[in-house]
Subunit: 514 residues, 2 copies
């Protein structure tokens, strides 16, 4: 058994059986080891950003860690943006980055690069195996790191000679135990929640099943409001979910939501902060003087914390108010706007859908329209690096083959990791990709104005607009082997959405919006 085989056996011994791969020569023994273990599922992505984003989406929906296979330094660089998103989402990922044989790395060969440096710039845990005998132990440590703290980015660098040399036996991963708030902090938080002006601010595992109902009970028993960031790895929404108030994108609107809150108790997330700074505006939307308690960070024991609060509040069997089922109105016909498209999609959403929303401007009203839709999980680009949605959809669909996945993406964003379309067809994934074709980086027009500038001039327009030439999304989809349709009215969009059972596998709908 060589080092690479000892790594694959360590993966399987620890229930890690999925690898999103974009291999290169320095990973060849790892490839061969995977070849010898058909119980490892290998999913090819045609760009490394697809691998890391898919592992992120998979973790968000399953809580299970998958591996990525990445080529040395530049390959990892290509995966970096979606590892950033995964990190911010609290997803666990084990990256396996090949490297040159240790003795070859003394030379300035073409692919020699700073594998450790680029990894450390985004990973919680980085290690380069020193010898082939270490690989199983290092692999177990990598899995343990990825599973620690509710999910971390872990990167094992595998020099080629540690892959091909003699390996040790498979080892067991032992994730670090989760930290818990102490009793005094829990007592104080339980008391604070009952005071006027108190609110929970929840994220991480607290924002979805199985823990979100517990949050609803705590709020009902204490009288506290439930607030949450706009961008979350996963949040349960629609009928039957508690009355969570997610913050709007713009700081001034978020301030309005938080203006009466005098004490925020954060569980599973960091305190609220605006996406960007603007001249003369505050960085945080919470009211001046609002007390903020970081009771349970995202990497701490959220289950224990919520149970302990519910115990203290006598809330373990409390009923709590939930969103009713009331399908949103949507215009039966008419020219599409981003808003009407969001309404149509929210109305149509099948039960237990998984929605990935990276339509930064066009999808802005989707959260409102979908408040009382059929229950679904919503995934957003929590690290702000566009290009997450399509790979997230790949991973979510692989993790939840019994649920329909909908990816709502702006045309600008969708270009970053468009290669994921191919993987959707290769793996026959049940995904509807909705492209909002407004033919611009619309958000940047808004941001330019938010910074106090007048309308974009020639240079800015050439950098913000996607016209000349127009992207043809039906052709792009077809090129990747995905059937596609272009729609320009709400009736056409409704018909296209409802058509999903006629074709298995993925499909793309290009929604033309102003």
């Amino acid at each position: 058994m060589n080092g690479a085989e000892s790594l694959v056996e360590t993966f399987l011994a620890n229930d890690l059986d999925l690898c999103f791969a974009n291999p290169g020569t320095s990973e060849m023994h790892f490839v061969a080891a995977l070849d010898g273990h058909p119980d490892m599922r290998c999913v090819l992505c045609l760009f490394e950003g697809g691998t890391s984003g898919a592992a992120d989406g998979y973790y968000r929906m399953t809580g299970k860690v998958a591996a990525t296979m990445l080529h040395l330094a530049p390959g990892f660089g290509n995966a970096y943006a979606n590892l950033h998103n995964a990190k911010k989402a609290g997803s666990g990922v084990v990256n396996v980055m090949g490297d040159h044989a240790t003795y070859h790395n003394v030379y300035d060969s073409p692919l020699k690069g700073d594998t450790i440096g680029v990894s450390q710039a985004v990973s919680h845990w980085t290690r380069a195996s020193a010898t082939s005998q270490d690989v199983a132990r290092d692999g177990a440590a990598a899995i343990a790191a990825a599973r620690s703290g509710n999910g971390q980015i872990s990167t094992l660098i595998l020099p080629a000679d540690t892959a091909w040399g003699d390996g040790g036996a498979a080892e067991r991963a032992q994730p670090a135990p989760l930290h818990r708030p102490d009793d005094a902090a829990l007592d104080a938080a339980a008391a604070a929640l009952k005071a006027p002006g108190a609110a929970l601010f929840v994220g991480g595992p607290a924002a979805h099943d199985p823990l979100l109902p517990r949050v609803g009970q705590i709020a009902a028993a204490s009288g506290a409001r439930i607030t949450a960031p706009l961008f979350l790895g996963r949040i349960a929404r629609g009928a039957g979910t508690p009355m969570v108030e997610q913050l709007p994108y713009r700081g001034e609107l978020a301030q309005e939501v938080l203006k009466d809150i005098t004490h925020l108790i954060c569980i599973g997330t960091t305190p609220p902060v605006n996406f960007f700074a603007y001249p003369g505006q505050p960085s945080v939307p919470s009211a001046p003087g609002c007390q903020i308690t970081e009771l349970c960070r995202a990497d701490m024991d959220v289950t224990y914390t919520l149970d302990a609060l519910a115990d203290r509040l006598g809330a373990t069997n409390t009923d709590y108010p939930t969103r009713p089922l009331a399908l949103p109105d949507a215009p039966a016909d008419g020219a599409l706007t981003a808003d009407s498209a969001c309404a149509v999609i929210a109305r149509w959403l099948p039960d237990r859908a998984v929605v990935v929303n990276e339509a930064v401007t066009s999808g802005l009203t989707f959260p409102d329209h979908s408040l009382t839709a059929r229950p679904f999980d919503l995934l957003t680009t929590v690290g702000g690096a566009i290009g997450g949605a399509m790979p997230n959809a790949v991973g979510a669909a692989i993790g939840c083959p019994d649920r329909h996945v909908v990816a709502m993406i702006g045309d600008g964003s969708a270009m970053y990791t468009i290669q994921s379309l191919w993987t959707m067809t290769r793996e026959a994934l049940d995904v509807t990709v909705v492209i909002f074709a407004n033919r611009s980086y619309r958000i940047l027009h808004f941001e330019l104005m938010a910074m106090g500038f007048a309308a974009a001039g020639r240079n800015a327009q050439r950098m913000f607009d996607l016209e000349n030439p127009t992207l043809d999304w039906c052709a792009l989809a077809q090129g990747h082997g995905v059937p596609a349709i272009r729609v320009e009215t709400t009736a056409e969009l409704t018909a296209a959405l409802e058509d999903r059972h006629t074709t298995p596998g993925p499909r793309l709908i290009e929604v033309i919006v102003p």
Copy 2:
């Protein structure tokens, strides 16, 4: 004048007037500053890998530094792979990476990331401006760094408040002087070149105009051979160029070329090293005992070194043997193979074409076929990170509007930065993109065998083959606004190539090969 404006004025004051951009919100004041300076040419790329690869291609063909505009941490990550290629090619690039306002960066906002860490993992020079008053000075230092050492990767991080705060006046860039070999080293090298078994090993500026003729003179006067790496940022080839022997890809074949060489004098490049290590094989292809002299590293004064050697050898007016003009034979008709396609392309190449060859396996015989073609410059993916060719072609075409650019790319490679097709049409670039559609990562099949394994099994096949679904390159090109044609015979390929004058701007030819 704010900090961003002081940066743009510093760029223009130093003859840096081109920016390959993929902007985000944190760069908004930089965008506005560019908007106020229409003499800065802004070229939009729909993915950051396009910006860095284009800046690389532009530098290779012009020797001029361009800027990139990149979004904070993840945006830089997306540019990383092609910055790696640019670094290995010896290209100078000034990256401007936005960042949060300094006071906002104390919060864990979605896009907060390790901007300095990810930059340092690939840049020669990294600096984050501390105040808006520093930006002009920092910008001048960034340009100086990018222009030092014959071209370096330089990254200026621009926190939003340093962009919008009051800036200073434009400053002048002062690149560091180039180091030179001392007289003793030059004397020894000149003597060594005259000894039997001596060879030059050239790269960097020594491999193309205006310096390559000097290399030819030195070789003719001394009797030394001229060797060079296979992968070079730019090498002059075809009729009229000196008799340079580029090393083959595989180490055992490179060994064969170098076997009689007892002394290698390296100018503008590091000593020969194999691309990868293989079990039981040496890392370097030079003969055991071969003396290696690093006379002039890539970042030293190559012009001075070559002139000094020519002086010592009395070679400043020496005639030297060159490749004759003899268009290669190519089959007039028949089914296409990668080899026959390379012959057809080499035969057709217009005078002074710029060829970017990233067809890793399919383009393998192109160097031989094109030895006596019409003179051209050849650019290769010198850092080994696939996804460089299409952006390189964008930059080369912008830098050399009077030359036809041909990008030869494997279908696997071309998927990494496919968004560059759109920029080719947006900028009306005179580029022919040839996609070798063998529908696999063919190189990996070869590498698996080179590592001593039998044929790929199910998992390996699923990771190496691009079938199921088949990529439709004509649809992909059309989706990006680029006209395309699919060819399956040598006659069809010849006709398609010769058709170039009927359509201005870019076109794509999908070459179906086994």
